[in-house]
């Protein structure tokens, strides 16, 4: 017994080493698949408020660019209003269209504006931190948009902050379709170039052309249909010859991202309970 204790004391540092390394690996396997723990992610109160302070300062450097973007968006919206106004004036809204609109769930989304207070693009698994949390109505699994297109999906929320899995993260796949032909595939980032992602699961016999627009499919409660994602930049048959290997140029510029909108689907809970009952 005495020898055993002496042995342990003599080699204490080896035991501490093994203990710390095993602890680290447990943490890695537990939290890195899907960082839902708010306590240990950048949504926690300490690092969250740190990031907010820093981004308050760095935001000033991007103000000019933000102004340009906002005024551009204003102009687009005004143009849209004018278009609808003229449509109304001509009373061209047919009965069929309004019926379709009321059936599609797209009208049941509200947008929560938020500021990106931390964002990375230089890793394999990229995340963003937002300055809004559950108190502002944000919940896990909500879609996140920029004015250009899809940006990511919320994966963790605290009271005042939330963490978003960026589209630049191979952990998420977004169901997408080609606007012209309506072929459905899933979009996933391959960890290489931050301006392009891969569109998978499009069979090789389907016709695909460079320049086709890729939009969300609306086959989940996360994104409604027809949110722009990117355009096909390059395509070729993959190694097995049964699928297309498609590169999609993303509309969202992840390097300059600073303001986003979070999609709140009105009947999300109801939709989820429905889905759960059939499983």
């Amino acid at each position: 017994m005495q020898k055993l204790i002496a042995f342990i004391v003599k080699n204490l540092y080896v035991f501490i080493f093994l203990f710390l390394e095993i602890l680290s690996l447990i943490l890695v396997s537990k939290y890195n698949e899907y960082p839902s723990s708010v306590m240990l992610s950048s949504a926690n109160a300490i690092s969250g408020s740190f990031y907010e302070k820093v981004s308050n300062v760095t935001n000033y450097f991007g103000l000019q660019h933000q102004n340009d973007l906002l005024s551009q968006e204003n102009a687009d919206l005004r143009r849209e209003i004018l278009m609808y106004q003229s449509l109304l004036d001509k009373k061209e809204l047919s009965v069929k269209d309004t019926l379709l609109d009321s059936i599609l769930p797209d009208k049941d989304y509200t947008l929560i504006p938020a500021k990106v207070i931390d964002n990375n693009t230089n890793k394999l698994r990229n995340f963003m931190t937002l300055n809004k949390g559950s108190k502002d109505g944000i919940a896990v699994d909500m879609g996140v948009l920029t004015t250009d297109g899809v940006a990511g999906i919320v994966c963790a929320v605290s009271d005042h902050f939330s963490v978003v899995i960026s589209l630049l993260n191979p952990q998420i796949k977004v169901s997408c379709l080609l606007q012209k032909s309506e072929y459905v595939g899933s979009l996933v980032w391959d960890g290489d170039d931050i301006t392009t992602a891969k569109l998978e699961d499009i069979s090789a016999h389907l016709e695909v052309a460079d320049g086709d627009t890729v939009v969300t499919s609306g086959f989940s409660s996360i994104f409604p249909r027809n949110i722009p994602v990117g355009v096909i930049e390059h395509h070729e048959k993959d190694k097995t010859n049964s699928y297309h290997d498609i590169d999609v140029r993303l509309f969202t510029n992840f390097k300059t991202i600073s303001h986003v909108k979070v999609l709140d689907f009105k009947h999300r809970d109801e939709y989820k309970t429905m889905q759960d009952t059939i499983q």
């Binding site: 204490l12 710390l20 890695v28 537990k30 960082p35 950048s42 690092s47 693009t121 890793k123 170039d193």
Partner: protein
């Protein structure tokens, strides 16, 4: 007084790592990890048990800010554990006796450069293997380790040379 200095450099290195270096994009996935300078320069008189605990705290602090819980902690504890073994390769027994803070002055330029290169490579290899575990080819991993190591080593040596010349 010494302790205060180390607490200050611990906090400063974490802040620089998280708010400056993690946001700089040299090219795609290249990211230098300067914060390991804390473990590298820690005096050899600090017992390895304590340096491993400090390394664990240091790694975990960086992890919490970059959503990589456990990865940096693992790599940091590893280099803290291997530090007494690595430094023996490059320094004579005479130098190692009563060695305080490890820097250019205390162990000499050529020993220090070799020591920094070895520590950085061990850290980066461990870190990137864990990070890349589930996907990516061998070459993808290889170039991530190579490029990031080069930047880290240059930063550390630059800072240490500057400190020496003052």
């Amino acid at each position: 007084m010494q302790v205060l200095k180390y607490i200050f450099s611990f906090i400063l290195l974490v802040l620089i790592q998280v708010f400056v270096l993690n946001n700089i994009q040299f090219s795609g996935y290249v990211n230098p990890y300067l914060y390991i300078l804390f473990i590298i320069t820690l005096p050899m008189s600090v017992k390895v048990e304590w340096s491993m605990l400090l390394a664990f705290l240091l790694g975990l602090s960086v992890d919490i800010f970059s959503n990589t819980i456990g990865m940096h902690a693992f790599a940091c504890v590893l280099i803290a554990f291997l530090r007494p073994i690595i430094i023996k390769f490059f320094c004579s027994a005479d130098t190692l006796k009563n060695l305080g803070e490890v820097n250019v002055r205390s162990i000499g330029t050529s020993s220090f450069v070799k020591y920094v290169v070895a520590m950085t490579l061990v850290h980066h290899i461990a870190l990137f293997i864990i990070d890349t575990l589930s996907f990516g080819s061998f070459w993808f991993l290889f170039f991530r380790i190579l490029y990031s190591s080069i930047f880290t080593i240059l930063l550390i040596l630059g800072i240490e040379m500057f400190k020496k010349s003052r």
